[in-house]
């Protein structure tokens, strides 16, 4: 009895240490930044532009990820096609790849000297050191989150529901739109929000592909390396608040975990 009591106390202490390790720096950063400094930082047009660019590019990357990722997720969930495991493994690659490596790989694939880069340039799309580069980097690192979440969500919808809908007169698209998508909606939305959050926090791939114009994470790194810690802290605190807001949204849309 006494042994169990000590075990519980030990486990509680270890858990508390971990929680402190995560909460400590966050709280420290928020406390460190004085409200007046936060206001001043918010007035900085460069920071505001960086935050706006981050939110815009992350949204664009998420929408492109949904457009391209949902058909693939549906195929992975429903169709036992040859090479499915290879595709799944490929989708895991951006998650395990160091992000600067992803940035270099994208540079080699989408740069102006490459065939793909030339085709894109022909269509008027400049990637490297342009906004499409930021979107490409964000898409690369975040789209697996959409595909995995959507695939699991589609898999959880019984295919016989779609078959009933088709026997009631729906074509394939109508059955998907009216039955599968609404039922998988929460899972898809969770994946989209996670991907959006991942895009907002991306740094390693973006900094290689598109240093300028600066997204918030690159701007922050720039402030820290050029002007030191005090100059970076208010901007960091603002980005932290944005991240906390995103976390709140994620918690709101994600299916409830059992208590």
């Amino acid at each position: 009895m006494q042994r169990i009591g000590w075990l519980r106390i030990g486990m509680a202490m270890v858990s508390a240490l971990l929680v402190l390790f995560i909460a400590g720096p966050v709280l420290r950063l928020l406390v460190y930044a004085a409200p007046t400094e936060l206001q001043a930082a918010l007035a900085d047009p460069e920071l505001r532009a960086a935050i706006a660019l981050t939110l815009f590019t992350a949204t664009a990357a998420t929408l492109i990820g949904l457009t391209l990722g949902l058909p693939l997720a549906y195929a992975l969930a429903r169709t036992p096609f040859r090479g499915r495991h290879v595709v799944t493994a490929l989708l895991d690659l951006p998650i395990v790849l160091p992000h600067p490596v992803a940035g270099l790989a994208l540079l080699l694939f989408l740069g102006r000297q490459t065939a793909v880069g030339r085709v894109l340039a022909f269509w008027g799309i400049e990637v490297v050191n342009h906004i499409p580069g930021i979107i490409a980097a964000m898409l690369f690192v975040s789209v697996p989150l959409i595909v995995h979440a959507a695939r699991d969500a589609f898999r959880a919808v019984d295919p016989q529901l779609e078959r009933v809908a088709r026997s009631l007169g729906d074509n394939g698209w109508q059955a998907f739109r009216r039955i599968t998508l609404p039922l998988a909606g929460r899972g898809v939305l969770t994946g989209a929000v996670m991907a959006w959050a991942r895009s907002v926090s991306e740094f390693g791939a973006i900094v290689i592909l598109t240093y300028n114009p600066k997204v918030a994470s690159v701007y922050l790194y720039d402030r820290f390396t050029l002007s030191g810690l005090p100059a970076a802290i208010p901007a960091a605190a603002i980005l932290l608040l944005v991240s906390l807001a995103v976390l709140g949204v994620v918690r709101f849309v994600r299916p409830r975990e059992p208590a």
Binding site: R163, V164, A165, R166, S167, L168, G169, P182, L183
Partner: protein, 358 residues
């Protein structure tokens, strides 16, 4: 009309081959097979959800190869109903009537939903969500949803297997009345023989991936064409033995002759059309039971010991040992009046012409 010609499918779990079966227009056909024998797959192929490996499917006389499910005008009710969980009961039924849209259905859609809900006794559920409904309620809603667009072909996948007997009887009666009033051809897959006996115009028995026997339910159940079908439908006492001719063949009656069937120490007289190893069926209700030897015209009379009594409502089954284990069926009233007891020796009789040779 539904016609299956040489239909086949190959899946990892099972294979169906050479399925031939015809359900006449406005008829009710049943395909009976054990669980996991591919019955649901067969229905999904007819509805157009799965591709055929071989053969052809004709609906209303037309080959439906390449026709999309939504163009086949076939209603389907699955064993587990598969109601749309994000719609209300009304919206589920409305779905096949170009709904659900905003607000409530109007005009013909409203009238159809109200009529079906009334006939199936689910009017009070229309504004509810489908979660938390009983199996019987879900079953009736699924049926209403499938019937709403007035399909002339309805596929039923074990529709009564997950509900209690009272609900089963009630819904069966409603479906039967709808079937009488609307021009629907029904194909039902089931493992329940009662459905076939009460309902079916035609029945097919699936065995080892193909149709072992098809025909009118009464014929299939009374005269199974193989020991496998006999075992599967549980027709009665199935005995494996040898037929021996008793008299020389009469040239005028060359097709049949009096014969003896021997199995162990049991020897039975019958009318045969062949000699050698064979199976025979003694239907439990054809076995006459008494304390004294039977005085009628039955050619076969023998003693047997009652091993067990089993009463199922008005019928009592006497499981006896006559050298071979046999079962005789008598009314429970007779069983009670005669006070048959386990261990008692009784006299059995059966006419030679009542023995069915497989």
């Amino acid at each position: 009309m539904i016609r299956l010609e040489g239909v086949g499918v190959h899946l990892p779990q099972f294979a169906l081959r050479e399925i031939n079966f015809v359900v006449p227009a406005r008829g009710h056909g049943l395909i009976i097979g054990p669980t996991g024998s591919g019955k649901t797959t067969l229905l999904e192929m007819i509805a157009g959800h799965l591709p055929l490996a071989s053969g052809r499917i004709f609906l209303r006389g037309h080959d439906v190869a390449g026709i999309a499910p939504e163009a086949r005008r076939v209603g389907i009710v699955y064993q587990h109903y598969h109601l749309f969980p994000h719609y209300t009961v009304r919206e589920n039924i409305w779905y096949g009537l170009t709904g659900p849209g905003r607000g409530r259905p109007v005009g013909p859609a409203h009238a159809r939903i109200a009529d079906l809900a009334d006939r199936l006794g689910i009017g009070h559920l229309l504004d509810r969500t489908v979660t938390g409904l009983s199996g019987g309620e879900q079953q009736r809603i699924a049926l209403a949803r499938a019937l709403a667009p007035a399909p002339d072909i309805l596929l039923l996948d074990e529709p009564f297997s997950a509900v209690d007997p009272t609900t089963r009887r009630a819904v069966r009666a409603v479906l039967q009345s709808i079937h009488e009033q609307e021009p629907i051809t029904i194909l039902q897959v089931t493992h329940d023989f009662e459905d076939a006996l009460r309902w079916g115009d035609v029945v097919a028995i699936l065995h080892e991936g193909t149709v072992a026997q098809a025909g009118r339910p009464d014929d299939v159940f009374r005269y199974p064409n193989s020991p496998e079908v006999a075992r599967f439908v549980g027709t009665g006492n199935l005995l494996a033995g040898v037929i021996q001719r008793r008299e020389a063949a009469d040239p005028e009656m060359a097709l049949t002759f009096p014969a003896l069937f021997r199995v162990g120490r049991l020897v039975l007289e019958l009318v045969a059309d062949r000699e050698g190893p064979a199976h025979i069926i003694l239907r439990p209700e054809d076995l006459v039971v008494g304390r004294a030897p039977h005085l009628g015209s039955a050619r076969n009379r023998f003693g047997a010991t009652i091993v067990r009594r089993e009463t199922v409502g008005p019928i009592t089954y006497l499981h006896v040992d006559a050298g071979e284990p046999l079962t005789a069926a008598i009314t429970t009233t007779t069983a009670d009046e005669m006070q048959y007891r386990t261990g008692e020796v009784v006299q059995l009789a059966i006419k030679a012409t009542a023995i069915h040779i497989i």
